[in-house]
Amino acid sequence: MSSPCRNPERRVDTLRLPAIVLVTWLAIGANEASAQHAPPAPDADRGPNAVSVSGLFPGGSAPPPPDPIGQRFEGNKEAIADGKELFGQMNCSGCHFNGGGGMGPALMSGHWRYGGQIDQIYSSIAQGRPNGMPSWQGSLVPSMIWELAAYVKSLPETAPASPTVVPGTDIKP
């Protein structure tokens, strides 16, 4: 069911992981050791330094600068592919499906309740959000959350231009 982890930045401290995630990680990361890439510094071992969810900055203050880790993950094909896999394995797809939403909001629409920058998406996944988004920071390590954020961030860009028309069945009444 799973393929080797593609992203060389996947850094997992197994001691910090709950059992259920550890099982998943061992399954998907079994071949990671064979990855030959050298990890670029700094390690993706933390979330963004500072995130603002609001677009209002009183008194002329400025939004926090984009986090350099996030900038490396954004648009990174390997990270997006690994994030997509995690998106299924962590049951994110059970709520958001392939981006169209269901129990959770659509993620392919380009409308973001809590911000569409990769560090804002990271924060939504890590902290959870009050209207039903679970908090994953106790279950996933930062590199996994960055991968998920990279995948989620990519969804509007890869979405089809128009609604998928589902033809009715060919069966005759």
Binding site: M1, I20, V23, T24, G88, Q89, M90, N91, S93, G94, C95, F97, N98, G99, G100, G101, G102, M103, G104, P105, A106, M108, S109, H111, G128, P130, N131, G132, M133, P134, S139, A159, P160, S162, P163, T164, V165, V166, P167, G168, T169, D170, I171, K172, P173
Partner: protein
């Protein structure tokens, strides 16, 4: 109670509004609930007061029908946990309240049952019955039987272990709880249990018909309807789908999911069970309504219940023994070849069984069934059952899923599509004695509203683009319709107002599983969204917008 009576007929004996004058029906008053999600509740009327429960945040409104314009008498805000919205599978709906002995009972999405003083709205007791962190929610309308409030849970898409619980009406204390899976002592199966069919008898089948421990996350929730026969002292309710949807992860019959139970309301003890869909592969929950009627079968009077199952068959079941009298398809079905009356089990079509990694195409009916939760009505005058339902098929692919508490436990990728003929909905008048449709109305959109029949020879229902309709009970001829502000997925009711006249009420506000694309602002470019409903409902966003308004109709004052 939302079902009108314990037999759940949804038949009103009032006839002031009838086929001759219904064309004059007009709005008497409206009321905004302020909540723009799927309005599935039935307004209930007691002592000149109307009680409404909204979708999450489950506000209860009492309206004073004795005053002009029916002003608010009181409102009550339970303020459920906001996070509960994230574990509700199919919009944040609520199917209504129940009244008994001066109290109003209702459930909240975050698993509380609450009793209010019907006169003042004061909270009398509040009992927590479940945990949103295991995926449990409550959406059903409770039923009060013999001093007990009966409540069941939702969450069959999150690996919840289903249950039905009885609470004391005065204290809110739990009197009994019957689980749908697990050992007999948890299911309340004891010496008095005897099912009609051999495969529904045995010891601890709620454990043995599952892989090790899978029953603990096996679903079988009870989010639908309960009926009660006071003479037999039995309550009837069905359980929902097994979890996960991917059947390959749970070999066995998966008892007691998709199962009709007859239970003693005093103790919860099961008298018999009938598993509609052993080892369900298609999400065919067994929670749809049971309408209790006495009818003549082969010259003999029988006490039966009528149950239009998600699997597309209209079950006529002997409500004393659990024997299936007949089970015929009330629309297009190809996933099941027939119901074997010797075993009580469906004979499955091997071509429509689901497989890992393979898309099985054109399974009919779809996951939400030939009919979902929205209740039918039965008129003793015509002898017909009025079934608002769907005509949808699906493509289904199993995918491996891991159980993570509080997250979806589904394991299937589904794309729903219009059924044969292209009409996604259908309204069928069904003769349960003959086992055939008498007339049908094709509807473009799936029907997600309930039905109500009246002695005025009319049947009322609503459509997902907002039309509230009255049709002739004998012929199906459209007699009147009114366009409400949003799509209708609620339950029509009729009541006698303080002025002695007949009124008809409906909540308008689209949502629910089929309407989540509008109420949840989902993206139609992903047809798998909303458990496969997004694609087939892509046009709904262009036909209606979210809403939440009560409409009450009456004839002009002469």
């Amino acid at each position: 109670m939302p079902s009108k009576n314990y037999a759940a007929t949804r038949y009103s004996a009032m006839d002031e509004i009838n086929g001759a004058n219904v064309k004059n029906l007009q709005v008497a008053f409206t009321f905004s609930t302020g909540v723009n999600h799927g309005q599935e509740a039935a307004p209930i009327v007691v002592n000149n007061t109307m009680y409404i429960v909204t979708p999450y945040p489950n506000i209860v409104f009492a309206l004073d029908l004795a005053k002009p314009g029916a002003p608010m008498k009181w409102s009550y805000q339970p303020r459920p946990a906001t996070a509960s919205q994230g574990v509700a599978c199919c919009d944040v709906v609520n199917r209504g309240a129940a009244y008994s002995d001066g109290k109003v009972f209702f459930n909240t999405l975050d698993d509380n049952t609450i009793a209010l003083d019907a006169e003042t709205g004061k909270e009398l007791w509040k009992t927590k019955l479940g945990d949103i962190n295991t995926g449990e929610t409550i959406t059903m309308a409770p039923l009060v039987v013999k001093g007990k409030v009966l409540v069941g849970d939702s969450g069959g898409e999150l690996g919840v272990r289903g249950w039905l619980t009885a609470l004391d009406v005065n204290t809110g204390k739990i009197v009994w709880r019957a689980y749908a899976t697990g050992p007999d002592k948890d299911v309340l199966i004891g010496p008095g249990f005897h099912s009609f069919y051999p495969s529904d008898n045995g010891t601890d089948l709620g454990v043995k018909t599952w892989p090790t421990d899978a029953w603990k996350t096996g679903g079988g929730t009870m989010w639908g309807w309960i009926a009660y026969d006071p003479d037999l002292n039995l309550i009837y309710s069905g359980t929902a789908n097994p979890g996960p949807w991917n059947q390959e992860q749970r070999p066995g019959d998966n008892k007691w999911t998709t199962t009709l139970f007859a239970r003693d309301p005093d103790t919860g003890a099961a008298k018999w069970a009938l598993q509609y869909n052993p080892h369900d592969e298609h999400d065919y929950d067994g929670i749809n309504e049971q309408i209790l009627v006495d009818m003549t079968v082969d010259g003999k009077p029988r006490k039966v219940l009528l149950h239009p199952d998600r699997n597309g068959h209209l079950y006529v079941v002997d409500r004393e023994s659990g024997e299936i009298v007949s089970a015929k398809p009330y629309g297009y079905v190809n996933s099941i070849l027939q119901i074997d009356l010797k075993t009580g089990r469906p004979v499955m079509n091997p071509d429509k069984l689901t497989k890992l990694g393979t898309v099985v195409r054109d399974i009919c009916p779809t996951a939400s069934g030939l009919k979902d939760w929205n209740p039918s009505a039965f008129s003793p005058v015509t002898g017909l059952m009025y079934i608002p339902h769907e005509n949808l098929c699906m493509d289904w692919k199993n995918v491996q899923v891991s159980y993570i508490a509080g997250t979806p436990f589904v394991g299937a990728e589904v794309v729903t599509k219009a059924g044969p003929g292209g009409n996604r909905g259908q309204f069928t008048a069904w003769d349960p004695v003959e086992g055939k449709a008498v007339w049908t109305i094709k509807e473009d959109l799936p029907l997600w509203s309930g039905a109500m029949a009246t002695a005025g020879g009319l049947v009322f229902y609503g459509t997902m683009d907002g039309w509230f309709k009255a049709v002739d009970a004998k012929t199906g001829e459209l007699k009147w319709q009114f366009k409400t502000g949003s799509g209708i997925i609620g339950q029509p009711v009729a009541y006698r107002g303080p002025d002695g006249h007949e009124y008809v009420a409906i909540l308008s506000g689209v949502g629910g599983w089929a309407g989540a694309i509008v109420s949840g602002d989902l993206d139609p470019r992903d047809p798998t969204g909303a458990l496969g409903f997004n694609g087939v409902m892509a046009d709904l966003k262009a036909k209606t917008a979210p809403g939440g308004t009560l409409y009450v109709f009456s004839l002009p004052k002469s």
